[in-house]
Symmetry: D2
Subunit: 368 residues, 4 copies
């Protein structure tokens, strides 16, 4: 098998002309698309409908090319979009394809991709043990599907889980259930947290017995450095995309990841860059930057209100949500290192990387 | 003469306990304060009252210590505050003092500070030739006051000029005048632009004949790399602080500056850092970072909607003002290099550095 | 002919289940839909993609039921959506249908609807004479199509024209054109203004010779009390829907309108209500409120910063756009009178009603 | 005793020229000021510093006129400001004075004012039994001070309690305490809720035994129709102002209040208006409106996401806080009835009026 990743600019959440042209030019076989991960124009919070708009637009495009129904496309392909292109960030989407390899494997490990879905979650499941465990199972299933044998070869696990509006939460409560929060935005945080613990459990970053509901949003020493979890009202299951390396795959791509210790941790970013074989540099040259196929970053405003001992104001702000602040900041730092603004940067890094930090994963063409 | 710069955290725009304690501990003589430049909690736009709140709080504190009236303090000391601590930025204020030197000059140039004020401006003056010319005169006056002989020794000129609310603008229009814009936010941009051209004229970065009203917000090839201009409703004159180097001064501090070519121009930032005598490094060590006394940055969202060929969304955003986006982004990049989040980062870089970029100036203790 | 108007709740811009169920229950023949006007969840400004999302969702639904292509549906039916359900407002869409009348006309005038489209506009056409004149022609064409003989029988003209992003505007400028503004949001205002003057010209509210480009955003004494104009990036032509009364039509519905003189002008609102035959009341009873089929309101923050002599802050606000403020306020006042929150309330009332005010039109079942 | 209430426009939170002129003209004796309640320009959330700015400005003004220290003024006079003048609302402050009566009492009850303060609260006290009970005691104390004998004569109790930033909350938690919420905004809600239950207990609107910590933000059937509670970082105690009627007082003013059942409950508003002796009217005439001296409104977005059966979007909005939405909406409705935009409208009506509604109190000159 051979994996490829192509990235397209998104001028408008309904404008998928980039992928259309690639399909029509024969660069992408729409039947080989296994996942799409992207960054859209909205606020990334509960009332962000740009994710759903892009999902619909892509499902229509792909179905028109493959002959599937749009619903079949949506059931087959995880569309994982995070809203919020604050600051220098550029809206885009990365299309993951898997094709039969023309050549035999080279012995060198190559990019490998696996996809899986959990069953549906209801508001009362979010942040609970059920979400942790079913996510862990889905990760294991996706690893098997990808032929990734060792957890050490897993470099990125993207999870998109459900968000619920107030109406949904109230209905659940009225039906006698107890959602983890009655606040739609906070419930999204519970979902990201439980999903992350599920990933950490699956890849052995934490002991299985530690991946409990009791630890959700409590014990931040438990985390995954490969998990990137988001939530949106447009899905009802956890969609799981595992990306790693496998000697069973071929192709030109590789992947690297690193934990980010805090908002200013450029060392983590450079570690991920150098893991791709680039020489140390303050900023990748324009030429080197072209080798990067996709970047994924999680980050968060530190809970204690301090960054390296100085106060930040992100958590007290009633005008701009903390996630928008931190995406703008950490996204810009990463962009300044990899010389590229089309990065998937997502806030809400609960249990995704160290507390107050996050994680980064980069996919690139291998150096020759 | 000997200049010093001390920086204080600002937990709340009314909390000036940092300076109070420094005065009471004898670290600062309040009579020697010649300027205060800081970053407050507001949005940095027309309806940002945190600048005025801090101004009042400092005027009261200093007057209580010097015996001056608060009004006399405000007339004597430029209080130049920019709102907006987006992302990782930390609210703070830097207090500039000038004291008689105990020692003779060493032959080495040291930090020199000069202050001047223009006459009052009315809404109809903003962005006009009068503001350009009177600003240039004030810069020249401040240079003389500081004993800075060569324009090449000017590294930073901070200007704070008036902003006007809609009510003011309407009153001006009704009185038969023609303000450059009927939009309060846009008029602030005109003021920053004209002030910048005045600085560029004064320090010879552009020919005097080119510093015309016709160039304001039109000819962006004309700019100053040392100018940092902001606007606020709490002042009615242009307050001008010139910071440079002079062999007539003594003390431990030096200053460096550089143009920033675009939002990702880390080379410009590193140039300013290395101009202070630091060895090249991705990020200053915590130890080196302590040598930095203050950082000043101007930046802006590129007018063509592109950063290195990729679209950004800052100028189309109806939820978050473009200045808030770009401060979060460029502020974080600078913070990641100098390992310090208490930086003065200001948007609205019209004619302050190259179009789509900006400028940076750093004050630090000299290396030994 | 017989016109009908049915209104559906919009829980999410992609959730058109309300119309789907009505079609599947036989309450609406999708081929008879001639226009849809609605209020979506976004900010109503340039980066509001909820309008496009709903448009796509409706086009897909209708095309799946009629066998047309989605593009054919979009070309046939004006989808006119305004973003922003601030405060108590409820997201919804009103579906206008025209069917052959089963009965003869009764002599009593009934609701009549006509639709027309202008040719495409480019950024440089917005706010210009071409937009004024082509809009006036489209209104006349729609009146003829609707069999509305007298301008006095026109009670509501909804126009949706194009908005352009910064990228579009820069491209136009680089091609040598001169768009009326280089600010995307401001250009939307020019478009609404020119379209309104076109309507006023067509229905004789102002002399044809007064409907000039020179008056756009200048002479606010020129206005239409039946025009409601909005702009969005998802259209390139002016879509025009004329609603009035005609003795050639039959059916149970009627329409009334009134000018709104300022933000507190409840007299205007009550005039429109009483024009429908309701007895004067502070608030319609729940029973009476059911007779209302749709409400359309334009409003704006007064340009002089005052409402009945007291200052408002809407035009100085850098956090919340003035249109969001005024929609929340005037929308709530109207809702409190007609006892219904599913109202189409749109800001940006340039030349739509008196300066600082706006207009209101209400469609209701006739009293028996 | 004789109470008076004068209202001043607030062009800027630092501009107290209105009161200054009234003092200098002899209209107000600054020593007779017993409370100031106002509406400032900020967002009304944690990072709203306009309240503190106005407090400082007024304390300075009054101290300069009375010879007290500013701190003494702040300890003597409750300054209770709520941020947020959304929509048509006009920033202003109402100054309450108490003077010795020149005339004897007339037998007719007149406006009576009493003030009291609780001890200081820490983050861990907010929303707890201690805050409930000490608030109730302060209300009783203020009633006694005002000579208000019957709870039925209490028409308005304004409470301003402390808010805490994240830093404060973290410090409290680290010290081993358990604040009711780790979210600064949510903790403000706990404080308003507990304070309201304290008021309800004091005036007998709920049984004393029901006023428990367990009911806070849980049992919304328990509420006060005279309580208006807000929170801000600039105070550390609950400041309590009780306003009612007493035959021991004289003067021209009266007060009326009513519960508001939901966001569209115009009946409640009209009940309060008519309680002042005005004839029923859709909108007070400009002449009648002048009799209104001050208006106080609490309101909230209904927790179930519905208003009279139709969805609202206020609780899902990541761009504009729910309190800003509802203030704009309910504030406009009240303004449209009383023909006045300078109203104190405050969101966060937990236990202040019926769930999903709120309360209104109006002070006016008595009809002759």
């Amino acid at each position: 098998m051979r994996a490829d990743v192509l990235r397209f600019s998104l001028p408008d959440p309904g404008d998928v002309s980039g992928l259309r042209e690639a399909i029509e030019a024969g660069k992408i076989d729409p039947k080989e698309i296994v996942a799409v991960i992207g960054k859209t124009h909205g606020n990334g919070l509960v009332n962000d409908y740009t994710r759903g708009f892009l999902t619909l637009s892509l499902a229509l495009l792909i179905s028109s090319k493959t002959g599937e129904t749009p619903d079949a496309v949506r059931n087959r392909i995880p569309f994982i979009f995070s809203g919020g292109v604050e600051g220098v960030l550029s809206p885009h989407y990365s299309v993951f394809t898997v094709s039969p390899s023309e050549a035999g494997t080279s012995g060198e490990k190559a990019l490998a991709i696996g996809v899986a879905f959990t069953p549906e979650f209801k508001p009362e499941d979010v942040g609970r043990q059920r979400q942790i465990d079913l996510t862990a199972e889905a990760v294991a299933s996706a690893m098997r599907a990808a032929g990734i044998e060792s957890p050490a070869d897993v470099h990125f696990v993207q999870v998109k889980g459900p968000a619920f509006t107030l109406t949904d939460i109230v209905a659940s409560t009225n039906a006698g259930n107890k959602p983890a929060s009655d606040n739609p935005g906070k419930l999204m945080g519970f979902g990201r947290a439980a999903s992350s613990l599920g990933v950490a459990k699956a890849v052995g970053e934490i002991p299985a017995v530690a991946a409990t509901e009791a630890a959700v949003l409590k014990d931040f020493d438990l985390f995954s450095s490969v998990a990137s979890c988001s939530a949106g009202v447009e899905v009802r299951v956890n969609e799981v995309v595992v990306v790693g390396l496998s000697s069973k795959w071929t192709g030109p791509l590789t992947i690297s990841h690193a934990a980010i210790n805090d908002s200013l941790d450029t060392a983590g970013i450079h570690k991920a860059v150098e893991g791709l074989g680039f020489a140390p540099a303050i900023q990748l040259s324009a030429q080197d930057a072209k080798r990067i196929r996709a970047g994924f970053v999680k980050c968060e405003a530190s809970r204690d209100g301090l960054i390296r001992g100085k106060i930040h104001t992100m958590l007290n702000d009633g005008d701009i949500d903390q996630q928008r602040h931190i995406r703008a900041a950490v996204g810009a730092i990463v962009a300044s290192v990899i010389n590229d603004t089309a990065i998937f940067v997502s806030g809400g890094a609960e249990h995704q990387g160290p507390d107050g930090g996050g994680m980064i994963a980069l996919i690139a063409e291998r150096a020759h």
